[in-house]
Amino acid sequence: MSGISPMIGAGIASGVQVVAVGVGGPMLVGAMRKVRCRLEGRVGPPILQPLVDIRKLFRKQRLRPDQATWIFPLAPVALVATVAVAAVITPLATTRPALGSGSDLFVLVYLLLVGSTLLALAGLDAGTAFGGMGSSRAVTIGALAEPALLVTILALSATAHSSNLPAIVRATLGDPGSVATPQRLFALGSLLIVIVAESGRLPVDNPATHLELTMVHEAMILEYAGPDLALVTVGEAMRLTLLLGVFVNLVAPWGVATTTHVSAIAIGLGALGAKVAVVGVVLAVFEVSMAKVRLFRIPELLAGAFVLALLGVVSGLVVR
């Protein structure tokens, strides 16, 4: 298939990435649930259960609270759409995705912010107490995660002298030693904490909780039902997968395709799936051994992440 033009190849590769994230996301969530259940001594639902649930939700009727405006149905759509765009431009299976020259870590962060901001607005749209509570907490956590996130990007960008994600991944492939520098390790530690916080996993938020007073994300989306809820669920799973995909390609980029050949992309996809699954399982094991922290202890956790990121930048300067 070397005859096709690089642009079309990149387009196909990006399409594959979107589908992989869209289908793989719910499967990752299912796998993490399964691991948790087994460790807790339960059988647990099948790994494909989230996909089945989503299919079920699409068959239900759409509901709309009487006070809600057009923001309420728009937010899930925007969430899925922006994560999908992020999956198009991010180097997940290949370092040459479509529009890769504009694939900037900074752009990625703000692209994902579109979906979470609209969801926070949708939480306030129905005019209930829980929605407001959820979105108030969600935006606060998001605001506190931001410094750690951007300073992490600063540390990660040092190797490639650019915040362009494909360039960083390619630079890492060309210089494998850069993975083990203190700079990169501190930054990746910080990134992992931020990913956990942004995707609402333990110990920041408990996705399985149904106790309203401790909910953050679940309270925010309490009013969603049917197909809209299905979109929110898919969007959240996609976001987790995408962020973990970025993480694994920064930790260990090996296996990722550097061309747009079909075979290379297939290998890249397999490697990506394996790596993300490993990290997902590790996170799940971690979650079992961990309780949710109090809401007002989260700032300390995120401040810790920020300090790690800053250490990353500083150690980069010292080592230089």
Binding site: F58, R59, K60, Q61, R62, L63, R64, P65, D66, Q67, T69, I71, V77, V80, A81, A84, V85, L99, G102, D104, F106, V107, Y110, L111, L113, V114, T117, A120, L124, A126, G127, T128, A129, G131, G132, M133, S135, S136, V139, A143, L144, E146, P147, L149, L150, V151, L154, A158, H161, S162, S163, N164, A167, P227, A230, L231, L310, V313, V314, L317
Partner: protein
Amino acid sequence: MTDGTLIVAGAALGLGAGVSGAALPRRFRVTAAATLVWGACALEAAAAVHVLATGHPIVLRSAELLPFTGVDLVLNPLGALFVLLVAIVAVPATLHGIGYAQHGSATRSATCVFPIFVTTLLLVPSAGSVATFMVLWELMALTSLVLVLVDHGRSQAAQSAAAWYAVFTQGGAALILVGLLVLAAHANGQSFAAIAHHARHLAPAVRGLVFVVVLVGFGSKAGVVPFHVWLPKAHPEAPSPVSALMSGAMVALGVYGIVLVGDDLLGGGPVWWWLVVLGLGGASALFGSLHAASSTDLKRLLAYSTTDNIGLALLALGASGLFEATRHPLLASLGLVAALVLVLNHAAFKGALFLSAGSVQVATGTRDLDQLGGLLRRMPQTGALFLVAAAAITALPPLNGFIGEWLLFQALLHGAASGNTASDIAVPLAVAAMALTAGLTVVAFVKAVGIGFLGRPRSEAADGAVEVPITMRLAVGLLVGACIVLGVIPTLVFPAVERAVKTALPGVGTALLAHGVDVQLVGLRGVLAPATLAGTMTVAVLVVLMLRRVLAHQPAPRVVEAWGCGRQLQTARMQYTATSFAEPVQRVFDDVLRPVQDLDVSHVAESRYYIEAATFHNAVDDGIERGLYRPVIGAVRRWGQAARALQPGSVHRYLGYGLGALVLMLAALAMIA
């Protein structure tokens, strides 16, 4: 000299607008003045576009117009960019003012002074000498002061706000005058060209002192911490078109002043200058965004967010100066581009936000978010426009706020590796400040939109709100359109910004290249494709909408009551309010914000287990005002009280004072002689 004629004709039209606003009968004066103001904006903008297109400054001199000094007008590309910025805000603000005037503020003084305020805003960037600059600057300050007081009959707060504003604007102007006079004295001439020529040979100590003095002067106009305290007082009390102009355009001229003196006149300076600017910028950004996140008054929130945005621009400006001082001309150029783009974008979205806040105030009579709610259903167009402007200020792609933040981040990112100790320490901290600011801005504007425009109305006034007249919506729409255009096709203005940068920093290269609609950093690895991103996002939304339609078995939604934990009736009081929404942020940052909280519980007489009534009071006042200025005001007041003992009303005592003073002066003269 047709280009010079444009400037003069524009100024004449602006003054004519002021006269007609004062002289014409009530029925015509608002529209007549507005039309003439548009004419003035169009002519000045045409001159500015001409300067930006050719790169040649327009020079005008009239020896007769101002006694002793004459008037010098030099419109260079840097000034021209700011003239354009003013015009971009002034045209919609005037249009909005037509509708706004029907609701009270069409007094003769307002319609007379508003055009003069706009005209001075348009002319300040073309001042070419110290005298001309100061005269225009003072006219701008005085006219805006009158406009803050327009509604003084309706609110006590306006009078207090005007007093604060007067102190800061006059104090700032005095400092600017001192700084410029020192430069002029050394240059043996008061034209900016002569000053720029001689300033390089000044002693470093003098240059440093002048820079700091002028920085404080312009900083007080730009709303930089700790000189920002007038903003959250004056912006809310002024009529909304005036707030839009003050926040979008006048505050931007403070930044213009710093660029003018720091880069253009003094020709850059040592590292410490710019570290001061960086520090002020970071502090302003954090302090402003934190207070914006915890404000419950819509216009106060916007005023604090102005401090935040100007802080970001100063971060970029400080970084630019820092890189220039450490010999990285390319990065310096990129930093200044970022600063100017940030200010330009701020004018567009903050203008739109203040104007829509004015529309809300007209429709509901309040700007207290805790009294609003449900406005998106009642004022669909104003609400949607406010939402887009809020998304722009939160830097969501593909709107203009994002472009500015991206440029700032790229300047800092590449500066981090520039190998200088000062920038090594300053840059990561600047990135952190910028990031926390961005996060808090999300909190502030999710709150503004979510509490103000969504949910159930929290008062009868909000429940009965109706959409404002078409002119007011159109005015906001123009600015929101600018936000979208500047976000999707920023390459439209980059050549102009580059020209302005080259005026301020001669000798630096071009920082940005436009590849069609993409933006590429020159010499650095960074590409932004805003139009492609916008296109991809639109396509993705359409695809997902289609998927939802195909996959969902029953696409039409059923309207149901929201879940209230089994309670039958949901009321507006069960929702989160602006206060409760900001509570987590307030609690996390309570060391900085120091909220004053008061909970009063009265129990039923029969049993302490039952509560009869509870009142909760929460106030976040400005810590800098409380800690820095209140003690000073208190001291002045105490001195004043103490001095009353000197005035008992006895003529004999006063004659005695006169005699004593005379004797003292004679003694002093004798000693000197």
